[in-house]
């Protein structure tokens, strides 16, 4: 075929400014990622908890109105306290908070899967195919490149955390038919959105840093699994060892017959550092604090008699890790990720 089938034509269109140039990279990244059918499946699965969340808040709205639509379902709500059923409006905030808490906790796990499918390719493939000169020789800065790649992760994670949270909120309000609900629950929506963005931002930066460490996406996927599952397993093992040690110490003291406050008791009231080893546990701990789930559990626990109370509050039964520690770990990981990106994705101002 001859080269000059059609001659070169000049183009007289206008070029956009630089401010949103990173968006082109994000759009392209999303298009490429959506070519993966496993990702589409994961997105579908990740939206299922959103349906459950919307169903709960809508159901509670109908319950508040004593709607005839749900009267037939009331016998199935035996697991709820009688007081809650008699005055559902008084427990609205707690029900919403715990629903959002469980939703976010579930989405946190599913977001890790999404990131496993999307993230490893983002920078490692560009390094492998030497695409950086193509990016940086265009009117782009390195920060635009990072923002564009980061935007891909934030879009996908946001699509399964922030968007469903907002959608469920709107549906919940529509079903409650009470304007006062907005004033009461808006901080929860704000906290959910912020928490979704924190998950997306933290995990997005981390996977970009891991992706910049290798030209092989498989290795990056393994790094991610190590951060996500590996750190959780290590944390679990450390907690198990510590728990066993405390049990043994407790038995020894019982045999020794010492009364009053024991050393292990004192230990158990101290904050434990071991959960900090798990990346997802840190994200979950920050989420708990932002959404206010411990307080919601506390209020619901008061409805139960003493023996059942502790079972009602599984998460607050032992001394928790201070959320500030978890936030500190996440902040340190963020800083480390930014440093890795800065070191690994260099500008072209260097010798070949």
């Amino acid at each position: 075929m001859p080269v000059f089938d059609q001659g070169y034509q000049h183009w007289s269109g206008t070029l956009s400014g630089h401010a949103w140039r990173w968006l082109a990279i994000t759009r392209h990244g999303i298009r490429v990622a959506l070519g993966n059918r496993w990702l589409k499946l994961a997105l579908f699965v990740a939206w299922l908890p959103a349906i459950a969340l919307a169903a709960v808040v809508c159901f509670w709205g109908l319950l508040e109105q004593q709607s005839a639509l749900i009267q037939s379902l009331l016998p199935m709500l035996g697991f709820l306290d009688r007081e809650m059923l008699l005055d559902p409006r008084a427990y609205r905030m707690e029900v919403w908070t715990l629903s959002y808490g469980y939703f976010m906790l579930t989405e946190l796990r599913l977001a890790m899967v999404l990131i496993l499918l999307v993230g490893p390719n983002l920078i490692s493939q560009d390094l492998r195919y030497n695409a950086l000169p193509l990016y940086l020789s265009r009117p782009l800065r390195r920060i635009d490149y990072f923002l564009g790649k980061w935007g891909v992760i934030v879009s996908f994670v946001g699509a399964v955390t922030v968007l469903p949270a907002i959608a469920a909120y709107v549906l919940g309000i529509l079903f409650s038919l009470d304007v006062a609900i907005i004033k009461q629950t808006f901080p929860l929506l704000l906290a959910s959105v912020c928490y979704g963005l924190i998950i997306a931002g933290s995990a997005g930066t981390l996977i970009l840093a891991l992706s910049a460490l290798s030209r092989s996406s498989r290795y990056v996927a393994m790094f991610w699994l190590a951060v996500w599952i590996g750190s959780g397993v290590v944390s679990g093992v450390l907690l198990g060892i510590e728990h066993e040690a405390r049990r043994h110490a407790s038995r020894r003291l019982e045999r020794g017959g010492s009364g009053g406050v024991t050393a292990p008791d004192v230990e158990s009231t101290r904050a434990d550092w071991r959960p900090l080893v798990s990346y997802t546990a840190n994200l979950a701990r920050v989420g708990e604090e932002m959404l206010g789930t411990p307080e919601a559990w506390d209020k619901l626990a008061k409805l139960r008699p003493g023996a059942e109370r502790d079972m009602t509050r599984p998460r607050t039964s032992s001394a928790p890790t201070p959320w500030t520690w978890s936030a500190g770990v996440l902040a340190a990981l963020f800083g480390l990720s930014v440093w890795i990106l800065h070191r690994s994705v260099k500008s072209l101002d260097r010798l070949k």
Binding site: H10, R21, Y129
Partner: protein
């Protein structure tokens, strides 16, 4: 002026890539010549504002390359030397993405991508994954993505490296068409002198980060006063022997004799030899330096 460099120095640690470089380059097709490590790539990166220079100033297309890098890169199309690809894309997506990165709207970029792929002869392969392209196709793809936004200046860094003769010819034809017929300025970096000569009218010669020569190729290829190209109707070998007997140094280049006259002699000597031998001279002109000779003599002087 296409670009100006004023006393530009760029070092990487102990290595001086550009050494007090001064340049004033007019618009047109510019060849950038130099051996490996001569500073060609650093000079291109300086033009694009991708490196921060240690010293000096300069302008590209009237813009300061130390302050207006993004504006310069918007007006320039660049096809890098190395094999580089946006992974997991088909040809048309690759070129459209390059356009979007430059600031084109998605619809404009896609339309333009189809046009430029047709232009470079990749229309048939536009929906193939770029990873499956041959070397020549990848070079043409890079060219298409460099011109997708219709730049004022096109920079091709070693565009014919590793290509077969047919592919090389296609790239040269495209470069020549863009610069001669479409009014696009071109900076053509290569160490292949015939390629530069085939496309460019102006040349810059670099070595060790220093400027060795620059100017119109036609002017650099100087006329030799005592060397001539001669073609005769009859036996070339016999005529060559006659010239040698007259004191000339003669070498045969196909149908042509390259004749160097003795000092103090004039071309009349060749006419006289032909008259004595009863030979018809069909071609007689002063010999010019080739670009290769210009290049080599520049290197020797350096």
């Amino acid at each position: 002026m296409l670009f100006q460099f004023s006393n530009i120095t760029k070092t990487y640690g102990d290595v001086t890539a550009l050494d007090h470089l001064n340049l004033d380059v007019p618009e047109g097709a510019i060849g950038l010549l130099g051996p490996n490590g001569s500073g060609k790539t650093t000079m291109i990166r300086t033009l694009l504002g991708l490196v921060s220079v240690n010293e000096g100033s300069g302008r590209v297309l009237g813009k300061d390359f130390r302050r207006q890098q993004l504006e310069i890169r918007r007006d320039v199309g660049f096809a890098p030397e190395d094999e580089c690809l946006f992974p997991h894309t088909v040809g048309v997506e690759f070129v459209a993405y390059a356009g979007e990165l430059t600031g084109m709207r998605r619809t404009d970029a896609l339309q333009r991508a189809h046009e430029t792929l047709d232009y470079v002869g990749l229309g048939e392969a536009r929906y193939r994954k770029v990873e499956s392209y041959s070397t020549g196709m990848k070079q043409r793809l890079k060219l298409a993505s460099a011109v997708v936004h219709d730049p004022k200046l096109l920079i091709l860094d070693e565009p014919t490296n590793g290509m077969d003769p047919a592919g090389r010819q296609q790239i040269l034809e495209l470069a020549r068409d863009l610069t001669m017929n479409k009014g696009m300025s071109l900076l053509f970096s290569s160490h292949l002198l015939p390629d530069v000569e085939a496309v460019c009218s102006y040349v810059i010669v670099l070595a060790g980060g220093k400027l060795l020569a620059q100017g119109e190729i036609a002017e650099l290829k100087q006329v030799h006063r005592h060397a001539f190209e001669v073609r005769v109707k009859g036996d070339l070998a016999l005529f060559a022997a006659r010239l040698e007997r007259a004191g000339c140094a003669v070498s045969e280049w196909g149908e042509i004799l390259k004749v160097v006259l003795p000092a103090e002699a004039s071309p009349q000597l060749i006419w006289a030899a032909a008259a004595d031998a009863g030979e018809q001279i069909r071609h007689l002109r002063p010999q010019r330096s080739t670009l290769e000779e210009v290049f080599l003599s520049s290197l020797e002087q350096a």
